[in-house]
């Protein structure tokens, strides 16, 4: 059947040459190469579940009196958006499950992206010729964060409204154009009835389309360039060694797809996430404590808590304190990451193309730098839940904040030093000494091949 179909296509498009090679395309077997696939599959889950949710969600900020099955809110004035989010949670069969799977998949998507970026960074996979995909990946990271934020801001519950209020304050802290930008984005003084419909357009149309387009570009580039690979027997700067796509790698990848779906479903079934009925509808004068955003926004939220209380005043203008952690820091971070392949190349005085990855220990300064950045971001992210930690540790919140300020200032340099020393030592000794290992592989003829493992 499928065979006949391939011939049918070839009659019309002449694809036999491409398909023949595609079926035998080499995919390196290292587990870390599957991190990117997790993101692809999480995105598929997101699109599927998100489409279902969009059938029921009403992006309308106008108010109505709630008379749904959730008795504790009976008679409360809520927006159509909030009421429809409650209705799809309580009145649509499978609605809450799909909502929770959608939210969990978003967390998995972002976690996978960060892990994948870490693999790329620490192994130097961004080096020539892969700068294009580094930039495309970085764009995907930014778009995914925006998609996540616009998504959890949609239900118009108390937490999402507070998050939007903070986001508007961040926009107001942008120098020169901030006020205008805020008024154009939300159509007036916060809050306005335009916010939810605009978020909806961004979340269900603009951002997913962009993400899909960038994913396509990402895959086309990686297909054309072929994978990089860790050094090993038979592996050179001019080839890539691995499993053939068909049948073995395809089966493995399918297993991963099903695993991502399974984990998302299990989390959606068992682990409650964002119970919007507990927070209640957004009213601009209400607040809850403790309150945290989704984990991937934690570094910005933590930055807002730890940031210095400095405002700039000059010539009758003001730049407020949110500028430092939520305007300047993300700008510098993304700008540096964007040009990182060239900075890295300049430091290594290397303009050659590479197919062989760096072992992290072999480039101690880069690995140390990555660890330092990770610690900094980790400190900011943990600080975003400082109020919860204060509650459980019975400490004043100010002590927690002071701790994380020190952590973010001194943790990264210490982490840099320690990593640098360890990596240099490992490089000098050639890594942890291991006995020679041989793996037997079953081959297509039914016999066995021996492979020398590093």
């Amino acid at each position: 059947m499928l065979e006949r179909f391939l011939l049918w296509v070839d009659d019309r498009l002449g694809t036999a040459h491409f398909v023949r090679h595609a079926l035998r395309k080499a995919f390196p077997d290292h587990w870390s190469f599957m991190l990117g696939e997790i993101n692809l599959y999480a995105f598929i889950v997101l699109v599927a579940t998100g489409t279902f949710l969009a059938m029921f969600f009403d992006p309308n900020a106008a108010k109505l009196t709630y008379h749904g099955p959730y008795a504790l809110l009976a008679g409360t004035r809520v927006s159509h958006a909030y009421a429809s989010a409650l209705a799809l949670s309580f009145e649509v069969n499978g609605g809450l499950l799909v909502r929770q799977i959608h939210h969990w998949s978003a967390l998995i998507f972002l976690a996978g992206i960060v892990a994948h970026m870490g693999r790329i960074f620490f192994t130097g996979a961004f080096r020539k010729p892969r700068e294009i995909n580094w930039i495309v990946g970085l764009a995907l990271f930014g778009l995914a964060m925006l998609a996540g934020f616009t998504g959890y801001s949609l239900p118009d519950d108390l937490l999402s409204g507070i998050g939007l209020r903070i986001a508007d304050s961040v926009v107001l802290a942008v120098p020169v154009v901030g006020t205008w930008l805020s008024f154009l984005l939300i159509g007036g003084t916060f809050p306005t009835e335009r916010i939810i419909p605009r978020l909806f357009v961004a979340h269900v149309y603009l951002l997913p389309s962009l993400i899909a387009a960038f994913i396509a570009l990402h895959l086309i580039v990686v297909w054309r360039q072929k994978h990089a690979q860790f050094p090993g027997p038979d592996r050179t700067e001019h080839n890539v060694v691995g499993s053939p796509l068909f049948p073995r790698y395809a089966a493995k990848s399918l297993a991963l797809l099903a695993a991502v779906v399974g984990v998302a479903c299990a989390l959606g079934a068992l682990v409650q996430i964002n119970p919007i009925w507990l927070w209640g509808p957004y009213e601009p004068w209400n607040a809850v404590n403790p309150a945290q955003p989704d984990w991937y926004v934690g570094w910005l939220e933590g930055g807002l808590r730890l940031g210095p209380p400095w405002a700039l005043h000059f010539l009758g203008h003001t730049v407020g304190s949110p500028f430092w952690p939520t305007v300047l820091l993300p700008f510098v971070l993304f700008a540096v990451l964007l040009v990182w392949p060239w900075i890295d190349g300049a430091i290594r005085r290397d303009r050659d193309a590479h197919q062989l990855l760096d072992l992290p220990r072999n480039v101690p300064w880069r690995t140390a730098l990555g660890v330092a950045l990770f610690l900094f971001m980790f400190g900011l992210t943990l600080a975003a839940s400082g109020d919860v930690q204060a509650r459980y540790a019975h400490l004043p919140i100010t002590a927690i904040t002071t701790f994380y300020r020190f952590f973010c200032l001194f943790g990264p340099p210490v982490g840099f030093g320690v990593t640098y020393v360890i990596a240099s030592e490992l490089r000098a000794t050639g890594g942890v000494q291991q006995a020679t290992r041989i793996r037997l592989r079953r081959n297509a003829e039914g016999g066995f091949d021996e492979e020398l493992l590093r």
């Binding site: 080499a26 695993a259 399974g262 479903c265 299990a266 068992l270 209400n286 309150a291 807002l304 730890l306």
Partner: protein, 267 residues
């Protein structure tokens, strides 16, 4: 044996699918639906993984990287074609410059409609609905009278003619009378945090401090809302009030400073 395991996993996936349909039809308990789906997907995953690891040949293939960069002759030819085209286009310099200008004008024209997205800020961020004589009212519209609040308690208030106005939301506090004798211990602060705009909802009566639940900025209510701790960069604006003859509380003007977070034009 291994084939049986894979087959068993596939059968489990069929069972999981049936369970999901059953859970859906019988009313849709989230946990059962989700677990059935998870079982289905998990079983499929196990089957595919087992199939890949046990049943399919573990072959090595090596692809040579030959597709890039192109051969030198190809690159030269590309450069030649491109240059020929550019030369043909730029024979008339003036028209090329006009083309750039036209494209720039086009882009500018396409940007202009973005202006429709919102009103001009104007002085919207400089004013609230408080003005001289505005009565302090609770969210439900009831006016606040001078004996309504216990000492060391707090209440969210709005101007009586702008209930629920987000920019005008304010915290009415009552401190011991000797600390604010002119208003019998009453004082009013903007409820919009000057850091990131959250409602400054926590009144710590013992310390006489207002605290923002979002980023923990702390303001001293006995020192005109000065920042005591946290990331806020300026004091919480204080609303001047007086006690009217009928015993209600009224504002004597708008806030003397803009409320809410810093913004470029704030000065």
């Amino acid at each position: 044996m291994k084939e049986r395991l894979v087959g068993g996993a596939l059968m489990l996936a069929i069972v999981g699918s049936a369970l999901f349909i059953a859970a859906y039809v019988s009313g849709g308990a989230r946990i059962y639906e989700g677990l059935a789906l998870a079982l289905t997907a998990g079983a499929l995953s196990a089957a595919a993984a087992g199939w890949a690891l046990w049943l399919l040949p573990d072959e090595r293939v090596a692809d040579r990287i030959v597709t890039y960069p192109s051969r030198a002759a190809e690159r030269r030819a590309q450069r030649g074609e491109f240059r020929t085209g550019v030369r043909a286009i730029s024979r008339s310099r003036a028209v090329v410059r006009l083309l750039y200008a036209a494209l720039g004008a086009c882009a500018a024209a396409l940007v202009v409609p973005f202006r429709s997205l919102g009103p001009a800020p104007g002085d919207a961020l400089f004013h609230t609905r408080w003005r001289k004589g505005a009565r302090l009212a609770r969210g439900d519209g009831r006016a606040v009278r001078v004996d309504d609040l216990e000492i060391d308690s707090a209440l969210t208030v709005f101007p009586a003619d702008a209930l629920g106005d987000p920019q005008s939301q304010a915290m009415l506090l009552r401190v011991p009378e000797r600390l604010a004798p002119a208003t019998r211990g009453y004082m009013v602060y903007s409820k919009l945090c000057t850091h990131a705009g959250c409602p400054v909802a926590l009144y710590r009566a013992a310390a006489k401090e207002l605290m923002c639940p979002c980023h923990q900025s702390v303001f001293n209510v006995l020192d005109n809302g000065a920042v005591v701790a946290g990331p806020a960069d300026h004091a919480l604006p204080r609303l001047p009030i007086e006690i009217a003859q009928d015993g209600t509380l009224i504002a004597t003007s708008d806030f003397p400073q803009p409320v809410g977070p810093s913004f470029w034009e704030r000065g």
